[in-house]
Chain length 490, copies 2
């Protein structure tokens, strides 16, 4: 399968798709008749480049090639994935699919970003209906992992599997809906909340800001990690989900169900919402709000990544897949022992920046500690070994901060073993952006028993792997700054 995607229709959603594919190493061919398309997509790409690459702890592959094309036929040539994000009018979608299918490969996925149409509607009159499926993303497409994948009854089963594999490789989660329904799943919830919100504003109960606070200070944070049912399962306690629902059910016939009709969207109501929104958020431009939103999303998603839960667990899965078969998954025995080893290649995430505008000092140690973890893994001190009761604890650390680095930079860490024998491991890391040396991290570790929390010998396998590298590194030049003490020169 080629790593070429065709994006039909730019804008915020199409641009988000461009960014997802491009930053994951795909070439992207765009068709959009809007003369502003290149500028608009460029703005989305700029946002994506500052936020997406730092989500993972390994660097994404090199960016693919982006090209703009005058016709749909040109754009879809050689593409394995074609994503349609044209306006939400069925006749425009049908015309687009006809042009796409006249020129594209038969084994390419044709995804539609539609939020409202069912696949059976999209497929009407198509040359190959089974090739067209709903692949509905969520803004910002470059960060949020959810894709509602709805192939409908006519969907080609093999193509659906192919689509799921591609989406997962892009760090996305294909939510494969087996039955089609208007507006799929997520937007039905958004509509339900939207209707209720319109009533609350119309009746003067709450402002847009009060409604947002009611969401983000309460159930919004719960839902970000567990959704609806798992949250209620916890709330229900040991009595179980069945008990909880039986108790909760009667509330459904309480008086507020009377408001389930749709409020009329009068000019007055539109003005009220717009005015309240200005009062709430008007101090920030949309560009500022986008950056604030992306900073928040990256921060929370990286937090969930550390907990290996929800959207963060998806990032870890993508990371494992990216590392497989590369030097970042190799064991020490498979690497030459006469050169410092590469223990990190990653992008500085958005949330590692401090008030001085650069990567903050504790994140240097965070990156060095991750590099130490990777070195431990290389010599066999991996998660399974740690589970069995042995690990290394750091006893002493010395860092020289030699230069600044900023969010978005790709940094590499190489590691030299200074001493490796028995319980002792003395490592010297160097962190670089390209050729530029940013910092050195010198660390003395002891192997411990996790039961006694006291020093203990490592397994014979680990010691052998460590000694092999230590011997190989013994012939390397002594790194600058090794053994240095603060104030030692004075």
């Amino acid at each position: 399968m080629s790593k070429v995607a065709a994006i039909i229709g730019g804008g915020v959603i199409g641009g988000g798709w461009v960014a997802r594919f491009l930053l994951n190493g795909w070439d992207v061919q765009v068709f959009d008749p809007d003369p502003e398309a290149e500028r608009k997509i460029g703005e989305v790409l700029a946002n994506a480049r500052r936020s997406l690459p730092g989500l993972t702890d390994v660097a994404l592959p090199a960016e693919g090639q982006l090209s703009f094309h005058a016709t749909i036929a040109e754009a879809v040539a050689g593409a394995a994935w074609i994503q349609e994000s044209v306006p939400e009018r069925l006749e425009i979608k049908h015309t687009t699919f006809a042009e796409v299918q006249a020129a594209c490969a038969q084994d390419a996925v044709i995804g539609s970003s539609t939020s409202g149409f069912k696949p059976s509607e999209l497929q009407q009159g198509a040359a190959r209906p089974g090739q067209i499926m709903v692949a509905h993303p969520f803004n910002p497409v470059y960060l949020l992992p959810l894709i509602e994948l709805v192939p409908g009854e006519a969907g080609d089963a093999a193509l659906v599997e192919q689509a799921k594999a591609v989406l997962a490789s892009l760090g996305m989660h294909p939510l494969h809906l087996k039955k089609e329904i208007d507006a799929h799943v997520a937007d039905r919830f958004l509509e339900a909340v939207w209707r209720e919100a319109l009533w609350l504003i119309k009746d003067g109960i709450a402002t847009t800001e009060e409604i947002d606070d009611a969401i983000r200070y309460g159930f919004g944070i719960r839902w970000a990690q567990m959704g609806l049912f798992e949250t209620y399962r916890v709330a229900g306690g040991e009595a179980g989900m069945k008990h909880f629902i039986a108790q909760f059910g009667p509330c459904l016939s309480w008086p507020w169900t009377k408001l389930m009709d749709v409020p009329e969207l009068t000019d007055e109501l539109v003005d009220r919402i717009a005015d309240q929104s200005d009062a709430q958020s008007g101090m920030h431009s949309i560009r500022e709000l986008e950056r604030i939103r992306d900073n928040n999303l990256v921060t929370m998603m990286r937090g969930l990544k550390a907990q290996n839960w929800g959207a963060g667990a998806l990032i870890n899965a993508q990371e494992q897949a990216m590392k497989a078969g590369t030097v970042m998954a190799a064991r020490a025995d498979d690497l030459p022992a006469d050169a410092p080893v590469l223990t990190a290649r990653r992008t500085v995430p958005l949330d590692w920046t401090d008030y001085n505008g650069h990567m903050t000092e504790s994140r240097y140690l965070h990156a060095f500690a991750d590099a130490t973890d990777r070195f431990m893994e290389m010599i066999g001190c991996d998660a399974e070994y740690i589970q069995s009761g042995g690990s290394y604890f750091t006893a002493e650390t010395h860092i020289r901060h030699l230069d600044e680095v900023h969010a978005g930079a790709v940094i590499e860490i190489t590691t030299q073993v200074i001493l490796g024998e028995g319980k002792k491991m003395h490592l010297f890391h160097e962190m670089r952006e390209g050729e530029r040396l940013l910092a050195s991290g010198e660390h003395f570790l002891l192997h411990v028993s996790l039961e006694t929390r006291k020093p203990s010998p490592p397994s014979a396998e680990i010691e052998a792997a460590l000694v092999r590298i230590a011997k190989g590194h013994a012939g390397l030049p002594r790194p600058e700054g090794l053994g240095r003490a603060i104030g030692g020169a004075r």
Copy 2:
């Protein structure tokens, strides 16, 4: 005002209130006729103690006293806040309020945790209706900041202001609703989503797990930080909110509005939900899920805290209020110069733990770096000064990890100035849990111009403050480990 709260009715919600007050230094007097109340509240308290204190970067005050009482009259004696969390039946609420008001102070707030009743209903027949108001929290009450505060038309304005001040001091956000309405605001949204979810499960469109994924991989993460309207404002782009709504409005009459009636909660539907939930989450006990949830919430809320946004901005505001007037807000000139200065007193947060089960090494530096920031602030290098273009950058760091520490421990950092003259600042931090020395952090910093990114002299005021402490500290004993190099002893 006394710092005594009376909690009438335990359980998950009442227990959450107990934890909020107790961990913020209030004495708490509980009335709950359930013989299991003490055990149940103890379980909630255990969860709260492991998660809440680490939310802030300053330690919470010492815990208050918890006591259980045989009568409502005893429980409310001397209380400034009385919180009712009895079952959702109006006659029980009325009886409870009558007993409370017969014994409590007239200037105490009486809050009700009701999710369904309006204040006018609660106040019916009360001796002093204005004293009773809805104060509706969200589970887990010890972590989520939202309180819907609804006093109704009879509400006493002065008591409402008092209630808002108390809630803010507990790190909560009082969402003051001026008009009463069934189910307040947030639960109306929850009901709307719940109804839609029941339909989706009943019609076999999606399982509980698929619905949770549709929420937590997509709009749930958006809502955790911006809610509904600010999210749409960003999505609408530069065209503005008004344009966005006018475009979005027509969707409201699309076919899925036909499903706005309430599905019947048959035994079959209840079983289906319970079975799907077991398949989704049954591998975790409720206790495990509670801990996972709290780990996730703490991680995301601390992330938002670093961004000073949403629920995180609330934590920062609480922190500022807690620091005001204490040594953690003092300037260097107000402190004696002949002893190491206290630069941190904080609780190790849940998300600082690693796979070895203790505070991970980079968080030692995180805590030391925060202590350095606090020391900088003490000598006048505060946010305002940094804004004006000067700051300190760390050039070199040496850490000795001497002992382990775990989430929930209160740690203190004291700081000794080794050298302070011109651009140079050499600090030696010691981190302790009680008397136990955990680590030392030695740091060499240079004052820089944030414009040129090169070393530059600090302001005269900062240099004077630094030199004063450096002179005072010159007579202190040389700290153990100062100037040490890794491997130096070998």
